[in-house]
């Protein structure tokens, strides 16, 4: 029995199976993205989240409709789990007008007003000030929304990280910072870029509650995020989670991975969040073979439908090129 299994009681089984499906949905979608990239159906930069799914799954499950999400260029999973349809995500990567941004954004810039999903920011740390502002608006307007901001540990070296944490703590804003520490800023290992590698400790220096979580254990992530989101919503000020995770695939489709050992990757693959949870559920007698088959079938069916949707999509007429530079006023 794994440590994880020890925690899965009958009361938690339904949640665990739900989170397993959520992670599986992201995994299957992105495996398909990689395949489609190889077929040149998707172009540009493509950064997949494979290996890190427990983070988005565990955190986003705690949010409500009024909350806001700010993410990075590795955000397919966050968009999907926030409620953006897989078809709209895939159509976006195809550059089709049926995409969630009409093909204007692409893989790195998924946005969705309906689910308050504010991107899709491809400048490292560029989303943090935005999240601070969204939280400021909620606070000034007296709303109870929480803004969750995802970023990688590479962002910790940027000035905007420090400016944003300071502002959020100074003004006691309802924002949850989620640092997805996958140990590499593109190809630069954490120890080669930070004098202090304990990121939660560094964040705590800004006078906000910060702690580190095993980002491969979705139940641990879920529990930590639940506590943090509840605290933020109750007015306890900004919180910070360092989610220790690992990117199984290359940084992008152009990355030859010269900077890390295969053995290191293999070691982390043993902690695949999907495999870990599946085994734990099985060990606890909470996941039958039939249930596992059904989860996979659901995830696969969603991806198949998304591919069909994207394939059937159409490019935006080139005559519309200069739209959306400025807001369009109503009919004159």
């Amino acid at each position: 029995m794994t440590a994880l299994a020890g925690r899965i009681g009958a009361d938690q089984a339904a949640l665990a199976r739900h989170l397993l499906l959520q992670m599986l949905r992201v995994r299957r979608l992105e495996e398909k993205c990689v395949e489609l990239y190889s077929e040149a159906k998707i172009r540009g930069f493509l950064h997949v989240y494979i290996g890190e799914e427990a983070v988005a799954a565990g955190v986003l499950d705690n949010l409500q409709g009024e909350d806001a999400v700010v993410a990075t260029y590795r955000e397919h999973g966050h968009a999907l789990l926030r409620g953006v349809p897989a078809g709209a995500i895939l159509a976006e990567m195809y550059g089709h007008v049926q995409g969630c941004c009409r093909g204007r954004g692409g893989s790195m810039h998924l946005f969705d007003a309906g689910t308050r999903f504010f991107g899709g920011n491809a400048i490292v740390a560029g989303g943090l000030p935005l999240a601070v502002g969204l939280a400021l608006a909620d606070k000034m307007a007296g709303r109870s929304g929480v803004t969750v901001c995802f970023f990688g540990e590479g962002a910790v070296a940027e000035g905007e990280f420090h400016e944003s944490l300071n502002l959020a703590a100074l003004w006691q804003l309802p924002v949850l910072f989620c640092c997805e520490n996958n140990l590499y800023a593109m190809g630069t290992a954490l120890g080669r870029s930070e004098s202090q590698t304990d990121i939660a400790l560094k964040a705590a220096g800004y006078e906000l509650a910060a702690w580190a979580v095993d980002g491969m254990d979705v139940l641990a992530v879920h529990e930590a995020a639940r506590r943090a989101v509840d605290a933020v919503r109750s007015g306890a000020g900004p919180h910070f989670l360092e989610l220790r995770t690992y990117r199984f695939r290359a940084h992008s489709m152009f990355d030859p991975e010269r900077y890390r050992e295969k053995a290191e990757v293999a070691h982390w693959l043993e902690r695949d969040p999907i495999t870990l949870l599946r085994s734990a559920l099985e060990d606890a007698g909470q996941l039958t073979e039939a249930q596992w088959t059904e989860l996979q079938r659901d995830a696969d069916a969603e991806v198949a439908a998304a591919v069909e949707f994207a394939e059937a999509g159409t490019p935006e007429p080139v005559e519309e090129l200069t739209r959306f530079v400025y807001s369009e006023r109503g009919p004159e």
């Binding site: 946005f111 007003a113 504010f118 560029g126 000030p129 601070v132 502002g133 608006a137 502002l167």
Partner: protein, 326 residues
């Protein structure tokens, strides 16, 4: 009533704060200090620290927070102390404010106003004397304003706040003390069109912002020499009011563009290019330009003055394109 450019801007801010509770002012020393240039003096006491919000020295952080607050339904006025410091917020302005609407396929507009001081002429040295509004006018997605009169100082802000997209307002530092009379009922003004500040038939002097006073001086001097200059105040640098520029040049057949920015790659270059692209056969002489010398602005007064557009240099340029005077 009597006012100054500074007081006119303050009246505009106060008016916006009173009209719309979503409006707030945020920036370095806007509150307890009263504003670096005393623009917001008294507003902290009047509206309180929530709405006249002092920020740490974190230009990227608070400009980005302004963008986020705008996305969240507020109508922030972000003050960046000077254009020089706005370089620390370029990522947020160029990569976020200007792009979010487009990247999101029209879903997320950013109704944000950013105000900042620009320009030289106060012996502040190279790091406090930039005129980079022309740079910002390069960026699709932004609207760039340069109020040069009391009415525009008073009235552009509210109209900018009604714009669904980001607007940058550049206030020239030498204008803050400019005194004058303003109508008691002065209010919002349009932010789309250029304005003729003087009509004439011999040459169009095209300018904006801090160089308008020097251009008007030059026009007076030219009149004494028998050169009848028209003065066009652009007011908005993006989008440019092409129709007004071409209408003026269409009847004077000569143009001098006056811009405190450096000549290379400047907004004056853009204006000159548009005139030659579309009105080449209306021209009786090549377009002239008066810009700042291509040096980081020096401290010493005589050197700084020598680097900047002056009435004398504008007069000389007008003589040259008209082939008259001197």
């Amino acid at each position: 009533m009597k006012t100054t450019y500074r007081e006119a801007i303050r009246a505009g801010i106060r008016d916006a704060m009173e009209r719309d509770e979503r409006v707030f002012l945020m920036g370095e020393d806007v509150g307890a200090y009263g504003g670096c240039f005393a623009v917001s003096l008294g507003l902290f006491e009047e509206f309180g620290p929530e709405r006249i919000r002092d920020t740490p020295l974190s230009e990227s952080g608070f400009v980005g927070a302004g963008i986020g607050a705008a996305l969240g339904g507020m109508r922030p006025i972000v003050e960046i102390m000077t254009v020089n410091f706005s370089l620390l917020a370029l990522d947020q302005i160029v990569n976020n404010a200007a792009t979010l609407l487009h990247m999101s396929g029209g879903q997320f507009n950013v109704p944000l106003v950013i105000r900042m001081t620009t320009g030289a002429g106060r012996q502040l040295g190279a790091q406090h004397s930039h005129s980079l509004e022309g740079w910002y006018a390069h960026i699709p997605g932004l609207r760039i304003l340069a109020p040069a009169t009391l009415e525009d100082a008073r009235g552009m802000l509210w109209t900018a706040l009604q714009d669904p997209d980001p607007v940058l307002i550049f206030e020239h530092g030498t204008l803050y003390n400019m005194p004058g009379e303003i109508d008691d009922g002065a209010g919002p003004v349009d932010i789309d069109t250029a304005a003729l500040r003087r009509t004439g038939k011999d040459v169009s002097l095209i300018t904006y912002g801090g160089t308008l006073p020097a251009v008007l001086d030059a026009a007076e001097q030219l009149a004494e020499e028998g050169i009848d200059a028209e003065v066009l105040d652009l007011r908005t640098l993006r989008p440019l009011d092409d129709a007004a520029i071409l209408a003026s040049v269409g009847h004077t057949h000569r143009a001098v563009v006056v811009d405190e920015g450096w000549r290379s790659g400047s907004i004056s270059a853009e204006i000159s290019a548009r005139i030659t692209e579309t009105a080449f056969y209306d021209l009786d002489a090549p377009v002239g330009r008066v810009c700042s010398a291509e040096v980081p602005l020096p401290y010493a007064k005589h050197l700084e003055l020598a680097a900047l557009p002056s009435a004398g240099r504008i007069v000389a340029a007008a003589r040259e394109v008209t082939g008259k005077g001197g």
